[in-house]
C-alpha cells in the first residue's frame, strides 16, 4: 500500500517535471555543457564545466540575456566520440538545448558537429583540428582555441627563434596530431627550411622505439610533435634511454605537469612546451580568475580551457541580448561576430555589454581567454605562451602572437 502510493507520487512528480520545460521554454535559453569530465580530458573537463556555470550565474544575475534566463544541462563526453554522441543526442532530444558548449578533443567535436548542425544548434568548442573549419558549412560552429595549424605555425616561429636548422616531426595519427605537424611543416618550408624526417604513429602501442628510430636516423636537432600525454610519456622515456641529445617542441596538452610527474625532471629537462594563454591583462580575465579561484580553489591559469568556456557563455549571451527578445537560434548565431569582433566599444563583462547594447551601441567583447575576434571560419586566435621545463617546472619564456588567419 505504502509503496504503491510512493510510486504514484513519483509518477506524478515525473509528469510534472516533464511538463515544466514546455511551459518555461519561452522565457529560457537552454545550454548543454558537454565537457570531458572523465577520460584523457579529465584534468580540464570539470573546470570547464564549472566555468560555464559561473558565467551562466553572472548572466542570470544581470537579469538574463534578451529577456531570457540561461539554463544549463551538463553531460560528460568521457573524451570519447561514441559517448559524446550519446550525450549530445540526450541533450538535444530530451533536454531540448539550443546550444552545445565546451567540447574538448577534436574527435569529439567532429563527431558531435553533424548532430548540432542537423538540429540547427550553436556549437562551441576548444578543439584544434583544422577540419572543423571546413566542416562548419552553416557557420554554427565557434572555436575558442587556436587551430592545430596555428599551433604548427607557432612551433615554426619558435624553432626559427631558437636557431634550429634540422627539425623532425612526430605525429599521433589523428586530425589534431597531424594538424600540428602539417601546420609546422607548411610554415617551416614556406620560410625556406627543410624538415629532415617525419613519422606518423598509431595510438596505443606498447613501444615507439622503431618510430623514434625513423626520425632519429636523420639526426634532427629538434623534434616537433603533435602528440598526447600517454604516447609522449612512452616515446620520451625511450628517447632518453637511447641517449640522444636533440630538443623537443610539444603542445601543452602533452608536455604538462603530468608528464613531468610521470618521467621525472631529468628526462623532461629543456623540453619546450607551447600552449595558448589566456588574456591575462584583460579585466574580463581578472574577474573570471577571482570567481574561478573562489569556486574551485585554483587560479584560472591552472586550466586554460576554463576561460574559453566562460567566454563561450558570455559571447553567446551578448549575442542573445543583441538579437533581442524572441530571437531564434539562427538570429542569435548571426550576432556572435557582431558583439565579439572589432570595431565597437570594448567591453569586458556581460553587464557592461548589456547596458551598452541597451543604448544601441556597437560593442566588442574582449574575453578572458583571448580578444575573441572570430575569423570567417568562426575561429578565435588566442596568443601562445612558450614554456621550457627547468628542474621539473614549466617556466614561461616568451609570448607569441600570430597574425590573424588571412586567406586560406
Amino acid at each position: 500500500m505504502h509503496s504503491s502510493r510512493l510510486i504514484l507520487t513519483a509518477t506524478a512528480m515525473a509528469a510534472a517535471m516533464c511538463a515544466a520545460p514546455g511551459l518555461a521554454q519561452a522565457q529560457e535559453f537552454r545550454i548543454g555543457a558537454l565537457n570531458p569530465v572523465t577520460g584523457a580530458g579529465s584534468p580540464y573537463g570539470p573546470g570547464m564545466q564549472k566555468a560555464i556555470l559561473l558565467a551562466v550565474d553572472e548572466v542570470n544575475a544581470a537579469g538574463g540575456a534578451g529577456g531570457r534566463k540561461l539554463v544549463v544541462f551538463t553531460e560528460d563526453t568521457q573524451t570519447q566520440p561514441q559517448a559524446a554522441v550519446l550525450a549530445a543526442k540526450k541533450l538535444i532530444e530530451v533536454n531540448k538545448v539550443q546550444a552545445i558548449l565546451g567540447t574538448w578533443s577534436s574527435g569529439v567535436t567532429l563527431a558531435v558537429m553533424p548532430l548540432t548542425d542537423a538540429a540547427g544548434l550553436i556549437q562551441m568548442n576548444v578543439s584544434g583540428a583544422p577540419a572543423i573549419s571546413v566542416e562548419d558549412k552553416k557557420d554554427l560552429v565557434w572555436r575558442f582555441q587556436a587551430t592545430n595549424d596555428r599551433f604548427g605555425q607557432a612551433f615554426a616561429e619558435i624553432a626559427k627563434k631558437r636557431n634550429f636548422t634540422r627539425p623532425g616531426t612526430m605525429a599521433f595519427n589523428n586530425a589534431s596530431g597531424r594538424g600540428n605537424t602539417d601546420g609546422f611543416t607548411k610554415a617551416w618550408t614556406a620560410g625556406g627550411g627543410k624538415v629532415v624526417g617525419s613519422v606518423v604513429y598509431e595510438p596505443n602501442r606498447p613501444s615507439y622505439r622503431s618510430e623514434l628510430q625513423q626520425v632519429l636516423g636523420e639526426k634532427p636537432d629538434v623534434i616537433v610533435t603533435g602528440s598526447y600525454l600517454p604516447d609522449t610519456t612512452i616515446f620520451l622515456r625511450e628517447w632518453y634511454q637511447s641517449g640522444e641529445k636533440n630538443k623537443w617542441i610539444m603542445p601543452g596538452w602533452a608536455a604538462n605537469p603530468e608528464l613531468i610527474k610521470a618521467l621525472g625532471p631529468e628526462v623532461t629537462e629543456g623540453l619546450i612546451s607551447v600552449d595558448t594563454v589566456s588574456s591575462e591583462t584583460a579585466p574580463s580575465y581578472k574577474n573570471f580568475d577571482a570567481a574561478y579561484l573562489k569556486a574551485t580553489g585554483k587560479p584560472a591559469s591552472s586550466n586554460v580551457y576554463a576561460a574559453m568556456t566562460y567566454d563561450m557563455v558570455i559571447s553567446l549571451a551578448l549575442a542573445m541580448e543583441a538579437a533581442g527578445p524572441n530571437a531564434n537560434v539562427e538570429q542569435i548565431n548571426s550576432k556572435i561576430r557582431d558583439v565579439s569582433n572589432a570595431p565597437g566599444t570594448k567591453v569586458y563583462s556581460f553587464a557592461e555589454g548589456k547596458s551598452l547594447l541597451g543604448r544601441k551601441q556597437k560593442i566588442d567583447y574582449d574575453g578572458a581567454s583571448s580578444k575573441l575576434d572570430f575569423d570567417k571560419f568562426g575561429d578565435a586566435s588566442p596568443d601562445f605562451g612558450v614554456y621550457v621545463i627547468e628542474k621539473g617546472q614549466l617556466v614561461r619564456k616568451e609570448m607569441i602572437s600570430l597574425k590573424p588567419a588571412s586567406g586560406n
Binding site: 572523465t38 577520460g39 584523457a40 579529465s42 584534468p43 595519427n173 613519422v199 606518423v200 604513429y201 598509431e202 596505443n204 602501442r205 606498447p206 613501444s207 622505439r209 622503431s210 618510430e211 628510430q213 625513423q214 636516423g217 600525454l229 600517454p230 610519456t233 612512452i234 622515456r237 625511450e238 632518453y240 634511454q241 637511447s242 641517449g243 603530468e258 610521470a262 618521467l263 621525472g264 631529468e266 628526462v267
Partner: protein, 289 residues
C-alpha cells in the same frame, strides 16, 4: 644493417610481451573451448595490482610483481568458479559474451578506483647499451628474461608434470580423459590460476615498457588473439611463436610501409600463413572445433 637489428630487437620484445596473454588465451581455448575476452583486462588488473603494491610501499619491484601475479591468478580463478564453470555446458557464445562483460566490469572498476590518469612504475631510468649503434635496453632484457622464464616454466609444467599431462589429455579428448580416471575439477582450477598469472605478468611487463591506463590490456587483446590463431588454436608453442613472428614482421616492415601500416602487415602475415596452413602454424585442421 644497424637499423635492421634494432627493429628486430623491438619486434622480439613486443612479441614476447604479447606471447604471455596469447598463451593464456590458447590454453583456455584448447581446454574450455571459448575465447576468453577478459584476458586483456586481467592484464590491466595485474599492472594495477603491481602499481598498488608499489604505492603501498612494497620494497622491491620483484615482490610487487609476485604479488600482482598472485592477484591476477586469483581473479581469474574467481571468474572461472563464479561464471565460466557455470556456463561450461552452455554454447560457446554464452561464455564469450560473459567474458566480454567481465572484461568491461574489471576495466570500469579499475577506472572508478584508480581514475583514468596514466601511471608509471617507479623504476630507475637506465640508458641503453650501445653496441656500434645497436641499442639494447637493460629493461628490455629484463622484460625478455622474465617473459622467457615464465614461458619455459609453463612449458615444463605442461610437458613434464603429471597434472600438465592430464591437462593435455583433457584438451585432446575430454570424454576419453574422464573415462581414464582424470578428474578435471582440480585441473581446471590450476589452469585458470595459471591463465590469470600469465595475463597479469604480461600486464606488468607492458606497463613497465609503456604506461599504465585502464585500457592497457584491452588494446592488446586483438594482437593476442591474432597470435593464437596464427600459431594454431589450442597450441601453446604456436601462440608464443605466433606472437613473436607477428611482432617481428610488424617492426621490420616499418622502413617499407611506415609505422601507420605496420599493424596491417602483421595481419597480412597471418593471412598468408592461414592460406597455406588453415589450422595455423602448429595446429591441425581437424582439431579446430
Amino acid at each position: 644493417m644497424v637499423g635492421f637489428f634494432n627493429l628486430l630487437i623491438n619486434g622480439l620484445i613486443e612479441g614476447l610481451i604479447i606471447a604471455l596473454p596469447a598463451l593464456s588465451l590458447t590454453l583456455v581455448m584448447g581446454i574450455n573451448r571459448f575465447p576468453n575476452a577478459s584476458a586483456g583486462d586481467t592484464m590491466t588488473f595485474g599492472a594495477y595490482a603491481a602499481l598498488g603494491l608499489q604505492y603501498a610501499g612494497v620494497a622491491f619491484f620483484s615482490f610487487a610483481v609476485m604479488g600482482s601475479l598472485i592477484a591476477g591468478a586469483l581473479l581469474s580463478w574467481l571468474c572461472y568458479r563464479l561464471v565460466f564453470q557455470r556456463l561450461s555446458r552452455a554454447p560457446m557464445v554464452a561464455s564469450l559474451i560473459a567474458a566480454i562483460g567481465i572484461g568491461f566490469m574489471i576495466r570500469s572498476v579499475i577506472g572508478l578506483v584508480a581514475g583514468h590518469d596514466l601511471h608509471t612504475f617507479s623504476l630507475p631510468l637506465v640508458r641503453a647499451w650501445n653496441f656500434d649503434g645497436i641499442r639494447v635496453l637493460p629493461t628490455d632484457l629484463a622484460i625478455a628474461g622474465v617473459a622467457l622464464a615464465l614461458l619455459i616454466l609453463v612449458f615444463c609444467w605442461l610437458k613434464l608434470s603429471p597434472s600438465g599431462r592430464q591437462l593435455r589429455a583433457i584438451a585432446d579428448n575430454p570424454d576419453l580423459a574422464k573415462l581414464s580416471g582424470i578428474r578435471p575439477q582440480r585441473l581446471m582450477g590450476m589452469l585458470w590460476l595459471l591463465s590469470g598469472a600469465l595475463c597479469a605478468s604480461g600486464g606488468v611487463l607492458l606497463g613497465m615498457k609503456a604506461v599504465v591506463m585502464p585500457e592497457l590490456g584491452w588494446e592488446m587483446l586483438l594482437p593476442a588473439f591474432a597470435a593464437m590463431i596464427l600459431g594454431g588454436i589450442g597450441q601453446p608453442l604456436g601462440a608464443v611463436v605466433g606472437a613473436v613472428l607477428m611482432g617481428i614482421a610488424q617492426e621490420l616492415s616499418i622502413p617499407i610501409v611506415g609505422p601507420s601500416y605496420k599493424i596491417a602487415v602483421a595481419f597480412v602475415v597471418m593471412l598468408l600463413v592461414l592460406m597455406v596452413r588453415p589450422g595455423g602454424l602448429f595446429g591441425h585442421v581437424e582439431k579446430v572445433r
